[in-house]
């Protein structure tokens, strides 16, 4: 580099700095910012509009409905203020359904996460035809719930189901799988059958665990279980948290018991065996079987509030054990 060149390079910061301070130089930066903002809103507007129209507006409408006796069609509905919420507090069927939904969530979510994670660990190993196993295990997750419901209903039918066919073949009496007390187990089986979804997400998380950490642990003499417990699980903890939160939300909103109900119709909602009569089934019955739009909307708003509280509690109680991959350099 020549002296002239050095001098011209040395001049550059000064001239740039000077331009940066002047109003003329502000203009391009400001227009760049405006363009960025515009692009941001342009790209996010379909989502924002959809969110407003399809989430906020229906929620507000449901909130308004929850203060009325509207049945969807009759002309003489009226406002009842907090009447529906007061009725809800005294409705033992509602509380029983909520208790069952909570119990279902605390049973099915851990079971499905453990099953999904276990499958993910298995198919993450260097197996022959690993892709085939992954596909087969994931397949049930893409079966529509209605199809899954029909398949399970036929499989577990007392008189014509394959499950009882096998039982009777070995000399046992047929069981009423779709009635109490077995119906709850069939419901949990439908959840576990779809654990491929959790497996895929866990698998992605497993493949993100740095290999060198496992190698270091092995050199230090850690057992496979210790490595899994002390390295894999902590690094997977954000994924597990995500699955817990979405799993709890999905499980309290499940309508699978309806698809397994003895009578597949609106009026059949209430034929769901008592152990599977979960909160959303009660909501569905109030809306569509009994036409109590106001009361059902109140039930949904209470559920929304409870889900928010449950999510908050999950975040609070897991804050000390969930590890996020954060790049400290990015904070500087």
């Amino acid at each position: 580099m020549t002296v002239d060149q050095i001098s011209s390079v040395a001049d550059r910061p000064r001239s740039t700095a000077s331009a940066g301070r002047g109003p003329a130089a502000d203009r391009p930066r400001s227009s760049m910012t405006t363009r960025r903002h515009r692009a941001f809103y342009m790209f996010t507007s379909p989502w924002i509009i959809g969110f407003l129209l399809l989430t906020i507006v229906p929620m507000a409408y449901a909130l308004w409905l929850s203060f009325t006796t509207f049945d969807g069609i009759s002309p003489n509905w009226h406002y009842v203020g907090l009447g529906n919420y007061r009725e809800l507090l005294n409705d033992s069927v509602t509380w029983d359904a909520l208790r069952r939904a909570g119990l279902f969530a605390v049973t099915s979510v851990p079971l499905s996460i453990v099953a999904g994670l276990g499958l993910a660990v298995l198919v993450n190993r260097p197996l022959k035809a690993r892709g085939v196993f992954r596909t087969l295990l994931y397949l049930p997750a893409v079966v529509p719930p209605v199809g899954a419901g029909i398949a399970f209903k036929n499989l577990f039918d007392q008189n014509a189901g394959a499950t009882n066919g096998v039982l009777t073949l070995f000399g046992f009496d047929a069981l009423g799988w779709l009635a109490d007390p077995y119906a709850r187990y069939v419901l949990i089986m439908t959840v576990l059958w779809g654990a491929g979804n959790i497996m895929i997400i866990s698998l992605a998380g497993l493949q993100d665990v740095p290999r060198e950490l496992h190698e270091a642990a092995r050199i230090d003499g850690a057992s496979a279980w210790r490595t899994f417990r002390s390295i894999t699980v902590p690094l997977l903890s954000p994924v597990l948290l995500f699955q817990t939160v979405t799993g709890v939300i999905a499980s309290v909103q499940t309508i699978m018991p309806l698809l397994l109900a003895p009578i597949a119709s609106t009026a059949g909602t209430t034929t769901v065996p008592q152990s599977n009569y979960l909160y959303m089934i009660h909501v569905f019955a109030q809306y569509f079987a009994l036409g109590r739009y106001g009361y059902a909307s109140a039930l949904l708003w209470v559920l929304f509030a409870l889900i928010l509280i449950a999510t908050g509690l999950i975040f609070k109680f897991t804050s000390g054990v969930v590890f996020y991959n954060v790049d400290p350099e990015a904070k500087k």
Partner: protein, 450 residues
């Protein structure tokens, strides 16, 4: 290098990502609720929107309607929630399917139905003197079903307390056939079912009989009438299951379920209805009216061993045989193309489709002039027709309350009754619970109607 950190908060980008995922999921779920119905013309000629089930109007019939009337039919699948949304939005279909027995009074009382008397008065296709009495299910005078203006019409009907039976099953168990034209009692029916049922290792291989009516509301109202009473109070604002007649009907039905001789809420038929199970020879007696002959006649062997029997009676009760369905169509008061809709209504109920239904054996035609088209070529068809013609003499309309839907009644029944079916509570306790739950629903319904 990225390092794990315990308890680190969610980054903004991560939060936005998660929120977007959640919102998209919610939006996707809700988008199913949105719907649009166009009543505008797609080409020359008028357009009529019909909310029906796929079997009501096949694509071939849509084409035929275009050919016969010049009117284009846009078919919307029937869904009560969708219907309510369309009515609320002021954009209803032009014609809607409904069950006359349970829906007609309910919708009429809510002032969403178009009164059709002026249209009937002018029609040369649907003449009042040609209408079968079953169409009275579509009349409502503001208080009682069966009287007052007409709001719709049934496409066909059956007397739904009758039953079919398979003679092979009776022969196999050495049980006498029911008399051809005289009814057996409900007690005899249950006794026969108990003798005909076949079980093995905890499984029911052949149901002795199925007796569930079209809906529990119409079943119990009809059975209470057959016991000589009325399930509803005179103004239809209350039910009373504790009257001797209603208690008799309820007790019989609970006994039928408890003994598990046939499908019920505690012993469901996976097929969802009797048709395929009867065809497979797995039901000895099936509570269904004439319409099931349409299915049975498709299998000659089955038709030859099948018999239609009169509706049972209660000991000492009157002989009545009601229609629990009377499915047909109505025109919403805010329909946009009423004249075109009426033309399609006439065509559907009185012209080619009506004649085709009548000759198919899937129900009794609702125009008396079409009765001659009912199938009577084969011996088994003649036999069935003889029983059916005799049964028509005992036809009666059993009115249903305008303050509840059939679905609501059934949902409340299904909620309370299984405990009694399993023997956990007595029939009297059940009667009290049903009175309480259904009367509360009727009270709400009455307040809504005003």
């Amino acid at each position: 290098m990225r390092h794990p950190q315990a308890g680190a908060p969610l980054s903004r980008r991560r939060f936005l990502g998660l929120s977007a995922g959640g919102a998209l999921g919610g939006a996707a779920a809700l988008s199913g609720c949105a719907m649009q119905v166009s009543t505008g013309g797609r080409s020359s000629g008028e357009t009529v929107t019909m909310m029906v089930k796929p079997d009501d109007i096949t694509p071939e019939l849509v084409k035929q309607a275009q050919k016969d009337t010049g009117i284009t039919i846009i078919r919307v699948d029937f869904d009560i929630t969708k219907l309510i949304a369309m009515l609320t939005a002021g954009n209803p279909p032009d014609l809607v399917r409904a069950v006359g027995a349970t829906d007609a009074a309910y919708f009429a009382a809510r002032d969403v139905m178009q009164e059709l008397d002026p249209y009937f008065a002018k029609s040369s296709v649907l003449r009042l003197d040609d209408l079968d009495p079953v169409n009275d299910l579509w009349r409502y005078d503001g208080k009682t079903q069966g009287k007052g203006p007409r709001y719709g019409m049934a496409k066909d009907f059956s007397q739904d307390s009758m039953f079919w039976y398979n003679t092979s099953a009776f022969d196999e168990k050495g049980v006498d056939y029911p008399a051809e034209l005289e009814p057996i009692t409900y007690e005899e029916w249950l006794d026969n079912a108990g003798r005909l049922v076949q079980r093995s290792k905890g499984q029911t291989t052949v149901f002795g009989g199925s007796y569930n009516g079209l809906t529990k509301g119409t079943l119990l109202a009809s059975m209470t009438a057959a016991a000589g009473g009325s399930l509803f109070s005179d103004d239809f604002s209350r039910v009373d299951f504790t009257t001797p007649e209603a208690r008799k009907a309820l007790g019989w039905y609970i006994e039928y379920c408890r003994t598990k001789v046939g499908p019920s809420a505690i012993q469901p038929d996976p097929n969802g209805w009797d048709g395929p199970t009867y065809q497979a020879g797995r039901i000895a007696m099936s509570n269904a009216g004439y319409w099931m002959g349409g299915l049975i006649n498709t299998d000659r062997k089955l038709a030859e061993v099948s018999r239609l029997a009169p509706a049972p009676v209660f000991e000492g009760g009157p002989r009545i045989s009601s229609c629990q369905g009377g499915t047909g169509m109505w025109m919403p008061r805010k329909a946009r193309n009423k004249d075109a809709a009426w033309r399609i209504f006439e065509w559907y109920f009185g012209e080619a489709p009506a004649k085709s239904r009548a000759s198919g054996g899937w129900g009794i035609p609702t125009l008396k002039s079409l009765r001659s088209l009912m199938p009577a070529q084969e011996d088994y068809q003649k036999r069935v027709l003889k029983v059916q013609e005799n049964e028509l003499e005992h036809f009666s309309v059993v009115a249903f309350s305008p303050y509840t839907t059939g679905d609501s009644f059934e949902a409340l029944f299904n909620q309370a009754a299984p405990a009694a079916m399993k023997g956990d509570i007595s029939v009297d306790t059940l009667a009290g619970r049903l009175n309480s739950a259904i009367n509360e629903q009727l009270k709400r319904g009455k307040e809504q109607v005003g």
